[in-house]
């Protein structure tokens, strides 16, 4: 193996740009990467620049091999896998970093730039936000600029390279647009990227312990957006049903989507007017599908209503999904249920929370009916000193006891849990529903939709009453009625927030946030959600009725052909062939006729002399043509000379 030579600084001009392009494409991956990979990348990049500046040597081969193996196993150890977006991009980035350490020449930098393009695209596999488009464009521009900077021509300036790459992108833009609009969309993709499970998604969990939802309530992230077809229901009806919990171990409520595959809609009697709307659900990596309590129809595949009127999809929701639904906010369910013989909805752990149980039993004995008992409990929450707060104190071994008799401060989950325990203590079937309550209406011009955020997460209870079926009882409404009537977002803004420990956002900032969200919503709907349905709609708008894939492909091919012709035309126009004037054309003809090629650097006069010396033709016309040619080509504009030259060359041709 040849001994490693020191670098000679030839890459100093192109390397910074290659590094810029690479860094830019790594940027969106950083939040998802283990810190050591980002660190290693930064170190390798800095080291490589230092090596080039100081004309040092690059590390020896065995070091590089060792580092590569180490990194590979490092990635494998963290992700326990090497396929998928997470480990894939991590591996790509660490290998790009190591490639930097063996970048000797232009060719190696091409590899790096190729990786850079790949990384830019890989970031789209994770998330596609509104800013992904500018990122994509800028990233591609930087990479192309770096790429052009390495082309072997004389050092074109960065500005020129940048302009060239912008122009190239511009040429490509109409093609991209046409392909994006017209390429036939499929309702289910051929392939799917495995969900990056290393990435914690915020959202409701499948169980509930004290503190779970209140921590969620600090998140401003959007859970889903709703577009109501007609009227927006009043806030008190805005219960977005999610998961139903019925097992209690003294601290944690759990439930399961065990009824997947069975449609239990026949257990529900739908009353009142239907409400139609469309939900765009952000990915949760869970099965739960949210809908207004209680849904009648939904346009999402492989999704069924479970035993507890909750919707669940067979596959977890790993991508943003949009579906239409119809709900009835007035309904009765499981009126004639007989499964309550067992302790399914009445069970409590043998021990624990004894004071709560005792209290419930005493209160039940004081009244005659279950309805009265329920009202008494709610009145207790309302009239006694119970407080609604997002920062409740820590609860110990008997959390319900502690909450009811000591802390007396809590969030919806505490009240729901305490209420459910009290109900079960006297034998009333009770279950807890996790979901969202309320939502903020965002009016953006004509476009109006509802944003439901993680902070709208809510827990409420349902009790089963003879002849009435499951009845929704929301103990939080008894403690903090404004939470239900104004919604979380509204409550936050309107002064109440401060008392709950929120830092109230200024009105202006909030409005800006809403506008940005509206843009995002439209982006999601039309750009990211551009599926077969939107495509058909959009093509109808363009005047293409009844588009099938054959017609789309034909149109697409037609457009591509036209565009390529136009772009080629532009390029041909831009290319200016060096001007050949008539004089030199005539002279060339004359030279062809003589049949002797001029030598490089031979002036016409010397040529004439040489031709005559060779005795090929001792024609005085040669001198004449030569002199006329010199006059025409190098002298000032002279039409008579040109005429003479033309005539002389023609005569010469005839004579020959």
């Amino acid at each position: 193996m040849a001994k490693q030579r020191a670098t000679d600084g030839t890459l100093l001009r192109s390397l910074p740009w290659t590094l810029t392009a690479l860094c830019f494409s790594v940027l969106p991956h950083i939040p998802y990467l283990p810190i050591w990979i980002t660190g290693a990348f930064a170190i390798c990049a800095a080291l490589r620049l230092y090596v080039e500046y100081r004309r040092k040597r690059l590390p020896a081969r065995w070091i590089r091999v060792a580092l590569a193996l180490g990194s590979f196993f490092g990635v494998f150890a963290i992700y326990e896998n090497i396929s998928g977006v997470g480990p894939g991009s991590a591996l790509l980035i660490i290998m790009a970093a190591l490639k930097l350490l063996e970048t000797h020449q232009r060719r190696d930098q091409f590899v790096l730039l190729f990786i850079s393009v790949f990384l830019i695209m890989a970031s789209l596999l994770r998330e596609q936000y509104l800013w992904s488009l500018p990122f994509l464009v800028i990233g591609t521009l930087i990479t192309m600029t770096a790429w052009l900077g390495m082309s072997p021509g004389q050092g074109a300036s960065i500005r020129r390279n940048f302009l060239s790459s912008s122009r190239l992108l511009l040429y490509a833009a109409p093609l991209t647009l046409a392909m994006w609009i017209l390429f036939p969309r499929l309702s289910s993709p051929f392939w799917a990227v495995p969900v990056d499970s290393s990435q914690a998604t915020s959202g409701l969990s499948e169980s509930m312990s004290p503190g779970d939802i209140s921590s969620l309530s600090l998140s401003n992230k959007v859970a889903f957006r709703v577009d109501f077809v007609d009227q927006v229901p009043p806030p008190k009806d805005l219960y977005w049903r999610g998961l139903v919990l019925y097992n209690f171990n003294g601290r944690t409520w759990t439930g399961a989507n065990e009824a997947i595959g069975h449609d239990r809609r026949d257990n529900v009697e739908y009353l009142g007017a239907p409400i139609s709307y469309q939900v765009t659900l952000e990915p949760t990596a869970q099965h739960t599908v949210f809908a207004l309590d209680v849904p009648l129809e939904w346009s999402i595949d492989r999704t069924t209503m479970g035993l507890h009127q909750q919707l669940a999809r067979e596959r977890p929701i790993d991508q943003r999904i949009s579906y239409k639904a119809v709900s009835h906010t007035t309904f009765r369910s499981n009126r004639t249920e007989t499964i309550f013989d067992n302790n399914y909805y009445r069970g409590l752990p043998e021990e624990g929370n004894a004071r709560t149980r005792a209290l419930a039993k005493n209160m039940r004995e004081a009244v005659s009916s279950e309805t009265d008992f329920i009202e008494d409990v709610l009145r207790m929450f309302n009239e006694q000193a119970y407080f609604y707060t997002l920062e409740p104190p820590q609860l110990g071994r008997n959390p319900v006891d502690q909450f009811l008799f000591e802390a007396r401060q809590g969030f919806c989950e505490h009240y729901a849990s305490a209420f459910a325990v009290m109900m079960r203590a006297v034998g009333i079937p009770t279950r807890i529903v996790l979901g969202y309550q309320g939502g903020e209406l965002n009016n953006f011009g004509n476009y109006s939709y509802m944003i439901v955020r993680q902070s709208d997460a809510h827990a409420w209870t349902e009790v089963w009453l003879e002849n009435r079926g499951w009845v929704r009882v929301d103990p939080t409404a008894a403690v903090a009625p404004e939470r239900i009537s104004a919604g979380m977002s509204g409550a936050r803004l309107g002064g109440l927030g401060a008392s709950w420990g929120f830092s109230s956002t200024s009105e202006l900032l909030h409005n800006l946030t809403l506008k940005w969200d509206a843009l995002n919503a439209k982006w999601n709907e039309w750009i990211l959600g551009y599926g077969p349905e939107n495509q058909t709609k959009f093509l109808k708008l363009l005047g293409i009725d009844d588009p099938d894939w054959r017609r789309m492909m034909l149109t697409l091919i037609g457009i591509i052909t036209v565009m390529i012709v136009i772009i080629s035309g532009l390029l041909v126009r831009r290319y200016r062939a060096p001007k050949i004037d008539e004089a030199s054309l005539l002279y060339r003809r004359f030279v062809r006729q003589i049949g002797i090629q001029p030598i490089i650097g031979e002036t016409p006069r010397l040529y004439a002399r040489r031709v005559q010396a060779q005795g090929k033709c001792g024609n005085p016309a040669i001198n004449d043509i030569t002199e006329q040619y010199l006059l025409c080509r190098y002298g000032p504009d002279d039409t008579t000379a040109m005429r003479r030259l033309r005539a002389a060359v023609n005569d010469f041709a005839v004579a020959a």
Binding site: S584, I599, I600, G601, E602, T603, P604, R605, L606, L630, L631, R633, Y634, G635, P636, D638
Partner: protein
């Protein structure tokens, strides 16, 4: 408008003057035998407002050429013989204190004449050399805080013995650059040699010929030469030549922008002397060795050593557009 009408009146007078240029050429050729090319170059150099460096061995007629130029073109003439003890004051002149007026009076040196022959310029010390070269560049002389304009037209003909002779201070490249052209005279052909031996003495002959031009007409001719038509193809050709000298591995340094300007100016003046309708490739090729030869520096391992060889290499490798 103003300018173009001046040019028109200029070109009207030039036609008659061009005949005078021919007369001058013939007269020069009758004195310096067998060197028509060099004479044309010298004339072109003068018309392009440049200075001329003649480099050759002693006795090849350098001095007589300069003298003939001055005489025939009707210019005032001074000769400065450069020696190793020559001082700058010997060239530019000295200020002398006048007792009567109580003031210093500047006594102009030999440099104050229209044609200055700086003979054997490489025999003097660099200090004396630079006094001459500065005057050439600035067209004026500064002494004791006063600036004295040099007469117009102003033309320096410097002669130099090849620098490998003993006791010389070769001009550095930056100084060589001040000369528009550098020509070599070389030995005359046998035919002319014979004529030189048998014929009358050249100096005597020179006394007999009169001036064919005046200083004023020379200024007009200089203007006329500077507006010779230089077509686009020829600008391309000059640029291609310059580019070749910069990119060719044979040369350590290519031609500078000043070099390209010099090439264009010299080619125009040469075309004017040849009475061409515009600048032809032949004109560029004719002046190329004289203009570029002393500005090119061969690479250490280049096989082209002499100015002539280097120029030939360039001209033979650049296509004429």
């Amino acid at each position: 408008m103003q300018r173009s009408s001046t040019l028109e009146s200029l070109s009207a007078g030039v036609d008659s003057l061009q005949g005078a240029v021919d007369g001058a050429r013939n007269a020069l050729n009758s004195i310096i035998l067998g060197k028509p090319r060099e004479i044309d170059l010298a004339l072109a150099c003068l018309l392009a407002r440049g200075h001329l460096l003649i480099e050759d061995l002693p006795g090849l007629g350098k001095t007589i050429l300069a003298q003939a130029l001055a005489k025939i073109l009707g210019l005032s003439y001074q000769r400065i013989q450069f020696t190793s003890d020559l001082l700058p004051a010997d060239i530019v002149g000295v200020s002398i204190f006048r007792q009567e007026t109580g003031e210093f009076e500047f006594k102009p040196g030999p440099i104050f004449s229209q044609l200055v022959l700086a003979d054997e310029v490489n025999r003097a010390t660099p200090k004396a050399q630079s006094a001459l070269l500065e005057a050439m560049e600035e067209q004026q002389v500064s002494s004791d805080g006063h600036t004295y304009e040099l007469p117009q037209p102003y033309f320096v003909v410097a002669t130099q013995n090849p620098s490998d002779q003993i006791g010389t201070f070769p001009l550095p490249e930056s100084q060589l650059d001040r000369f528009l052209m550098r020509v070599e005279l070389g030995y005359p052909d046998e035919q002319y040699e014979r004529e030189l031996i048998t014929g009358t003495d050249r100096r005597q002959l020179l006394d007999e010929v009169g001036a064919k031009l005046t200083a004023d007409s020379l200024v007009i001719l200089q203007s006329a030469a500077s507006i010779m038509h230089l077509g686009d193809p020829l600008v391309d050709y000059i640029q291609a030549l310059i580019r070749f000298t910069r990119e060719s591995p044979e040369f350590e340094t290519g031609l500078s922008p000043r070099g390209s300007q010099a090439l264009a100016a010299a080619a125009k003046a040469y075309a004017f002397v040849q009475k061409h309708a515009g600048v032809f490739p032949d004109d560029v090729q004719a002046v190329f060795a004289a203009v570029a030869g002393h500005r090119l520096k061969p690479n250490i391992d280049s096989s082209y050593r002499s100015p002539m060889e280097m120029s030939r290499h360039v001209l033979d490798n650049v296509a004429i557009p």
